[in-house]
Amino acid sequence: MGTISSALSLMSGALDADQSALSIVANNVANASTAGYTEETANFQENDPVTINGISYGQGITETGATSTRDKVLTERLDQQQQLASASSTRLTALQSVQGLFTVDSDSSTSSTAGDIGSDLTGFFDSFSTLESAPSNNSDREDVLSTAKTLASDISGAATSLNSQKASLDQEAAGVTSQVNALTTSIAQLNQQIMSTSPDADAGTLEDQREEDVSQLSQLVGINQITTENNGLAITTTSGALLVSEGASYQITNGTVDGVTHFFVGSTDTTSGLTTGGGELGGYLTARDVDIPSVLSSLDQLAYSVSTQVNALNNTGTDLDGNTGTTASPLDIFSEPTEVAGSAAAMSVVMTDPSEIAAAASGEGTGDSTNTTAMANLANQTIVNGQTPTNYYSSFVSTLGATVSEVQTENTAQEASVTQLQTQNDALSSVSLDDEASTMTTFERCYQAASQVFTTINTIMASALNLGDETTVS
């Protein structure tokens, strides 16, 4: 030791180590555009020194492999935010489609699929007011039936469209599970490879592939990740159903329960957990099982109340032929619903002869219009869940609008959060000139400046809306 040959040996070792490091750099550059590729850095290890006569002699360094520059906590946070953003985005699309059914284009004569139910209600009750002045006028009687048909057709049309959208969401949700199953199978296979080849260290490209698969899985379904021994990974749904355990994957299967697709892991029905879990699947299921049923239920209530109340009044009066409705021969204008659920889809006008409109009170002659007045007055009576029909409908439409707006706000914020985390993740694990520290500083500067903007605008707004002092921030 301490000779020229040992010095040359040291230099040769150093050159070998540099050569290996250079090939890692070359690999980074070659994969700069590869999706999901994580930059690798060379690891150098000091060789054990040799001690001769009590003196230690260094033996140089050896390149011991490459480590990917990844941060699992950050990646997991990004995956979580992607789950939320993906769920709200899917739900928002479905909700906007539902809202489109009840939006009337004020700039043109064309209306939505559901028509303008609010105007239909007004038109229907107004037609009774018109009939009041000439209760035996056939044209006015026909007008009552005509406006009733428009109302029934628009309500049942909206219900049919909602049911179609629900069926379509059902299919989309079922389609997502096949993608989920393909990804969990792939992750389980990668787990096996990683655990056998790299149980104690970063598995480089294999781990990149697994991260990419987990990221895609996060966009489809809400998941939790648990790192296991030997660099393995277990994945469960957010409600705890096991999807991947090291080398094994567990498939989500579909089955029909009460006419809708339910999702099972093994024999457990995980539909409700998947609905609240996030991802595209969560978005589809929330729209299918929460949003659309809620809209349908409101529409059913409107159809049920209007049909039963109008029919009940018409059956108490006397028609143009002097008849009064009986159980055997009812004078129903609308098909009589038996229960609230399904009333909107089934709403139709069953009366074909306008003379059957019972304009007169029971026992009165054809010139009487007492019962017509009562039917016209239904417009101002709280007959639908404690509200007038038009108020109930307006409130239903504005509640739907508020839900859409709320989900939109949620989605914008979540997408922004994903963008921020991707920026940070790119700085850390991609081949980039930015370094993590400078991105952190930028992050902090952004937060401080944005807080200042928010505080100032908030003060201006509070002052403008007289919510606080009129003095402004200097």
């Binding site: 706000t409 902090e444 944005a450 928010f454 100032t456």
Partner: protein, 121 residues
């Protein structure tokens, strides 16, 4: 020279808020700092205008603008909230990594080995 708040038009509150949300999502620190300065200037302008003019017209116009911006302000608040959560995660990560570098078992062993076996000692 033009006086503050006299003839100069100011950007709409809604536009300012939307721009701030976008810049925050993109982590555009420079733009956000510009916006913070603009908001302060706008605030000063409004204060002077309020004192000088004292008429209800300007205040009504501002109230209208404020109402227009309410929804976008809600979005901005949510983005800011998400940013704070992300920043917390980043800070914890930094502390975690810092702690690992200083106190991890592997690092301690490497120090011991380096100090015991160094050839120049």
């Amino acid at each position: 020279m033009q006086e503050f708040g006299e003839h100069r038009g100011h950007p709409k509150l809604k536009d300012l808020v939307v721009e701030a949300s976008r810049s925050l999502a993109r982590l555009d620190a420079g733009r956000l700092e510009e916006l913070a300065l603009s908001c302060q200037a706008l605030n000063r302008d409004l204060a002077r205008c309020d004192l000088a003019c004292g008429d209800g017209k300007a205040r009504a116009a501002l109230a209208f603008e404020a109402r227009e911006a309410v929804q976008d302000m809600a979005v901005f608040a949510r983005v800011l909230e998400a940013t704070r959560a992300n920043l917390n995660v980043m800070n914890r990560l930094r502390e975690l990594r810092g702690g690992r570098l200083e106190y991890s078992e592997g690092q301690m062993q490497r120090w011991v080995r380096t100090e015991n076996g160094h050839g120049d000692n």
